[in-house]
């Protein structure tokens, strides 16, 4: 085990973790505000990747591809919320899970029907080519830039959540949706926004990650599971929980793949089991919503 390898893996962990953070952030605000566990979250990730792929094929601009991915998924999220999810707010939680699960299946299969099952490739943008010198080793430029993109997105999230009225409503809704409703605030309208933004987060992650992995209709399944692990570890409904959980999970995956590659995914679940036993509400768990 050499230093260069270690540094590279630590950064891989950060990159992977950063993407998990964004995806989990979307998932956690949807759950925190709406009380809905979005089993279609992986599908939104895939949708974003494909939307970005199309946009890139048309415009050759990666920036536009990212924007397209995020916006398209945001709109899809809004449509799904208005068209389907909103009928489920008063239905039992299990039914909500079932419908998001079903919606996820439909989305992924629709993508498969349109694009086929073969992998597509979204190339690294021109400003991401090459490698950066990190003192001891070289590291792909694009991956560092991913960290930057995610940091910007997180900053935006933070600003919206903690410095705007909308964010205040969302955070209050996470703590106690009933009171927010009784205060006369149209919680349902914020639901729309939150679902859309949460979905867009997954979509953005899909585009951003596309140059690193292959774009297939099934790329979202792993992400869905991993984002669940992230929020169980980090604590549901918590901004910092998503950040901490995502980075921890990313590093677990990267570092274990150095030592015992066949166990890297399993270690993730072992960590989740550990958190469940020692601190069931997660590292930063908010006890507002059960």
């Amino acid at each position: 085990m050499s230093w260069p390898l270690l540094i590279a893996q630590v950064f891989n962990g950060l990159t992977l973790g950063a993407l998990l953070v964004i995806v989990a952030m979307g998932l956690t605000i949807i759950y925190g505000a709406l009380g809905v566990v979005n089993f279609a979250h992986g599908a939104f990730y895939v949708l974003g990747a494909y939307a970005g792929y199309i946009a890139y094929s048309e415009t050759n601009s990666f920036v536009l591809a990212m924007a397209a991915g995020a916006v398209f998924v945001l709109l899809s999220g809004v449509v799904i919320e208005r068209g389907l999810i909103r009928f489920y707010y008063d239905r039992p939680k299990e039914d909500q899970i079932l419908v998001t699960f079903g919606a996820g299946i439909v989305l992924v299969e629709a993508i498969r029907a349109i694009f086929g099952g073969l992998a597509q490739h979204l190339p690294t943008p021109s400003w991401g080519e090459g490698a950066v010198h990190l003192g001891i080793t070289y590291y792909p430029t694009y991956r560092i830039e991913v960290l930057g993109i995610v940091a910007v997105a997180l900053l935006l999230f933070y600003v919206v959540l903690y410095r705007t009225r909308l964010g205040l409503i969302v955070r209050a809704g996470i703590e106690d949706p009933l009171i927010v409703d009784m205060l006369g605030i149209n919680v349902r309208r914020t639901f729309l926004t939150v679902f859309g933004v949460g979905a867009a987060a997954a979509g953005l992650a899909g585009v951003v990650n596309a140059p690193i992995v292959t774009v297939t209709p099934d790329m979202g399944a792993d992400v869905l599971v991993q984002s669940f692990v992230v929020i169980v570890i980090g604590g549901v409904g918590s901004f910092w929980g998503a950040v901490a959980g995502g980075l921890i999970c990313g590093e677990i995956l990267a570092l274990t793949s150095m030592v015992a590659p066949s166990y890297s995914q399993v270690m993730l679940f072992a960590a989740m089991a550990l958190v469940l036993v020692l601190r069931p509400q997660g590292l930063f768990g908010v006890t507002g919503r059960q």
Partner: protein, 596 residues
């Protein structure tokens, strides 16, 4: 059961006429068997698991490995081994996943299911063949000792699967009709109430989870035998998902739903295979059907079928016989004498802080056997918090609670109910999808069989002790004429009476009532007071109430709370005359109190 037998016997002959092969029939039965356990878990107990593939895979690979590695040539111990392995794994996963409820449970089972997939793929690849799976699984040789059968033909395999499905169905049916099954349904409807009535809910959940895992393991083992090959995709998330989709499409809580759903799924695939262009859309179409059914008809195909059948047969909704309520003697006013019984409930110095807010500040309280005590006070006095601590819903910040000589300060609500303290809730906590009879039975069962009993094979209708208790309580709360009505269809007053009935049916020594007349009309209130007076004879009661007529009509002693403390305690006349109590209610601060 006869209908099922008939179906199973004719199925392999009818299916080819509609384009299916025997192999498809085999697979449908395998999924149906897998789904029997899942329906017990999800349909009957309400636990939505997305990780059943883990048990399917474990059972399948253990069975296959036992045969391929030549540990045994007999398929029977191989299948048993696989099923047992799956059950053990199920118990372990259940212990972890059931720590959280509802949505967390769904997410956790999904994650654990995936964990097993990855375990199968890499670390355990030497045993499981990794991505290639285990091939050369021999045709099942069933060695019964005296004779052996090898099921090598398609038809033979079908009969094996049909026999096992039939047996599995019979067992699952018995379970649903047993006291154990009744408690599962209660858990699905309102698991907190089931726990408050004295059932060890976590244990019931763990047992049903293990049973579902066992069914999954058996189905997995059969898959390997059926195919001669055990594939790694038994562990896929898609497998767990397919099980969920099939069950919902077929209809959950029907036991045959998963079989029907599997039929629809596999049949659709067979149909579409031959249609050019649409072939690959099978999953998409099924996904759309699934979403449509969940949204529009949650009962699934079987549920829809039952509704149609009822309409066609013009069956009325369950007829309610007009059972005349027994005439009960009028009760005299509660005698205002000092109760002579021993102290049955002793509360010393309990307090509750919520952060900086002191809700209850050092209250001591003694209750004698046979006493009817009312706890009153203006809003914000701490009544609900105090009641919550008595009812073991809220842990006290300090102090002790002693019941019949035993310290119950740290004992949970389930155990406390078993020991003899029952409570009613201010907001009705009923089992809304169950009938009145079934509701009361849940309480009576808790008394009959304790916190947990694995009574899975007897029929709940044979529990004569419990049944008698149910009828007695139904009489006492004047619901004898409504025994077959679903709780959700009752009028509000009737629901309140059922709420009291649930507590009564556990045969408590002490009954805690939280605002029993909340939301009632004056007429209903009078009726309730009559009911409570009847019940009060021979029972020890603590009642938190706002309505003074109710309080003075019932109580032998009254405790008045204000600002988290007891400011007066005594007979009703004394309390009525107390200046401090009047001041507390009317707002003038009592001289030595800080203004609120």
């Amino acid at each position: 059961m006869a209908a099922l037998a008939a179906f199973l016997v004719t199925f392999p002959f009818t299916l080819p006429y509609v384009g299916g092969a025997i192999d498809t029939a085999d697979r449908i039965l395998d999924w149906g068997l897998f789904g029997l356990g899942f329906d017990l878990l999800f349909g009957f107990t309400g636990l939505l698991s997305f990780g059943q593939a883990a048990f399917y895979g474990v059972g399948g690979f253990v069975t296959a490995w036992l045969l391929v590695a030549n540990v045994t040539a007999n398929a029977i111990p191989a299948l048993v081994g696989g099923t047992l392995a799956a059950a053990i794994v199920g118990a372990v996963v259940g212990l972890l996943a059931l720590r959280r409820a509802g949505i967390y449970f769904a997410m956790l089972t999904l994650a654990f299911g995936e964990m097993f997939y990855f375990l199968d793929l890499s670390p355990l690849a030497t045993y499981t063949g990794g991505e290639n799976g285990l091939s050369n699984v021999p045709a099942p040789r069933l060695d019964f000792g005296l004779f052996a059968i090898t099921a090598s033909s398609q038809m033979a395999l079908y009969w094996l699967l049909a026999a096992l499905f039939f047996a599995g169905f019979w067992i699952a049916l018995r379970i649903t009709r047993s006291p154990f099954g009744a408690v599962l349904r209660a858990i699905r409807d309102n698991d907190e109430r089931a726990a408050a009535l004295g059932h060890d809910v976590p244990k019931y959940k763990l047992v049903v989870f293990t049973i579902a895992a066992a069914y999954g393991g058996l189905a997995g083992g059969l898959l390997g035998l059926l195919q001669g090959f055990m594939p790694p995709d038994a562990f896929y998330l898609a497998t767990s998902g397919q099980l969920v989709v099939q069950t919902v499409i077929g209809g959950s809580a029907t036991l045959v739903g998963p079989l029907v759903g599997a039929g629809v799924w596999l049949y659709l695939y067979t149909l579409l295979e031959n249609v050019a262009g649409i072939g690959a859309l099978g999953t998409l179409i099924l996904g759309l059907v699934f979403v449509a059914l969940v949204t529009l008809f949650r009962g699934g195909l079987v549920g829809a079928g039952v509704v149609v059948w009822r309409r066609l047969a013009a069956l009325p909704a369950s007829p309610e016989e007009a059972v005349a309520e027994r005439e009960l003697p009028p009760t005299a006013m509660a005698a205002h004498t000092t109760p002579q019984g021993e102290i049955v409930l002793e509360v010393s110095g309990i307090a509750k802080n919520f952060g900086g807010l002191v809700a209850v500040d050092n209250i001591s309280f003694s209750l004698r056997e046979g006493e009817v005590r009312a706890v009153i006070g203006p809003n914000g006095a701490g009544k609900s918090t105090f009641f919550g601590m008595l009812a073991k819903l809220i842990p006290p910040s300090s102090g002790r609670i002693v019941f019949a000589g035993e310290d119950i300060t740290r004992v949970n609500a389930t155990e406390v109910c078993q020991r003899g303290i029952a409570k009613t809730f201010q907001i009705n906590q009923l089992f809304s999808n169950l009938t009145v009879h079934e509701n009361l039975m849940i309480s009576a069962l808790a008394r009959e069989q304790g916190k947990f009993r694995a009574a899975m094979f007897r029929d709940v209708s044979r529990e004569t002790g419990a049944a008698r208790r149910v009828l007695d309580v139904a009489d006492a709360v004047r619901l004898a004429g409504r025994l077959d009505a679903p709780a959700s269809s009752l009028a509000y007053g009737e629901k309140r009476r059922l709420e009291i009935g649930l507590a009564l049916a556990t045969e408590p020594r002490v009954l805690l009532l939280d605002e029993p007349t909340a939301g009632m009309s004056p007429a209903e209130r009078t009726e309730t007071v009559q009911l409570l007076r009847r019940i009060a004879q021979g029972m020890t009661i603590v009642i938190v109430e706002h309505d003074m007529d109710v309080v003075f009509g019932l109580a032998q002693r009254i405790t008045v709370l204000f600002n988290g403390r007891v400011i007066a305690e005594g007979a009703p006349e004394t309390i009525q005359a107390d200046a401090g109590v009047r001041a507390a209610y009317l707002g003038n601060p009592v001289p030595d109190e800080q203004p609120a």
